[in-house]
């Protein structure tokens, strides 16, 4: 006899010793879920808040920062334009994420479900990528303008030799690169751990199709 048929014969005979009462089920309904989707959603909300705070906090707490900004953006319209642009991008991502999150339905078939979870993940990935690019551009520009518009520093720089200049800009560049790399590694680790099993299962299903 086939091994599985032997198993099948036994499978339905088993009466489960663990019987959960209606009372216990009621209690379970009000407990928290520990699903990947939920965790993904919380993490992405956390990311949004984090990046928004990074953008907004210095504005409120640092007078020097504000002065600097006034210096750099003598034209206020440019600043407003940049802000409107960056916040609308954040809003677009929030909307996409929300939509993707909504479309995850546990009653779909397994493959579709995994696809929609991975799609959600992709949106977060693009959002992170966008942030890293913007952050590195902002950092480089900030350093450049910071140096240019701070009289003490720029005076010193004017006297510096070209090798010294080269080293200073090189260090700036390197710091930005390290910063971006750290973030990237952090995300890689975070999502890698979270989605390892899902990715494996999805691949398994995918392989069936070829």
């Amino acid at each position: 006899m086939d091994e599985l048929d032997l198993l099948k014969k036994d499978w339905n005979k088993k009466s489960d010793s663990t019987k959960i009462s209606a009372k216990e089920i009621y209690a379970m309904l009000h407990k928290k879920s520990s699903s990947i989707v939920k965790t993904l959603f919380y993490i992405s909300i956390g990311e949004l808040v984090f990046w928004i705070l990074i953008n907004v906090l210095p504005y409120f707490f640092s007078q020097a920062y504000n002065n600097q900004i006034d210096l750099v953006y003598s034209d206020k319209n440019v600043l407003t334009l940049i802000n409107v642009f960056s916040y609308s991008i954040i809003l677009i991502f929030v909307y996409l994420l929300f939509k993707a999150h909504k479309s995850i339905s546990v009653t779909d078939n397994a493959k579709k479900l995994m696809e929609s979870i991975l799609k959600t993940r992709k949106i977060i990935k693009y959002y992170v990528l966008y942030n890293l690019i913007v952050a590195s551009i902002a950092m480089l520009m900030g350093l450049y303008f910071g140096i240019k518009f701070t009289p003490e520093v720029s005076d010193k720089l004017a006297d510096a030799s070209s090798t010294e200049l080269f080293i200073i800009y090189g260090v700036c560049f390197l710091m930005t690169a390290i910063f971006v790399l750290c973030f990237w590694l952090f995300y890689k680790l975070l999502y890698g751990l979270l989605l390892k099993r899902l990715n494996r299962n999805y691949k398994e299903l995918k392989e069936l199709e070829v």
């Binding site: 091994e3 198993l7 089920i25 493959k111 099993r197």
Partner: protein, 164 residues
Amino acid sequence: MNKELEHNFVELLEKHQNIVHKVCRLYTNNYDAHNDLFQEITIQLWKAYPKFRGDAKFSTWMYRVGLNTAITLYRKSKRTINTQDFDGVAFKIKADYYDDTEEQQLKILYQAVHQLNDIEKALVFLYLEDKDYREISETLGISEVNARVKMNRIKTKLKTILNP
């Protein structure tokens, strides 16, 4: 969510809970993990319940949600990979069915099934539940042909695990 809906749901789940227990039995191998997964599936069922229109049988719908939860949503995977402590759960076989060699064989079989991956377990589960290939393919989102091919591969895989 209103009380009546909740009441109906609890009643249905209590009646059909065996399905969830069976999913847990395949995907976990200790008491705590079993209960964790049971709870997670219950929560997912409850969340999806308002959308349950009754066009499928409640039990069929439970298969889907239960397996999906086990395959995709449940992330405490550490507990499910370890097959070493499987003996501890010891599937009890009723006294009237007692047969030393068959009992032994079944025990080894269950251990072998536990070594399969999540997708393979889902297929085995549906197979054990007497689902036809059409239903298996619909639940997993693959074609019927693929389901058949995969099932045959699993049978071979089990054979090699059993007779190395």
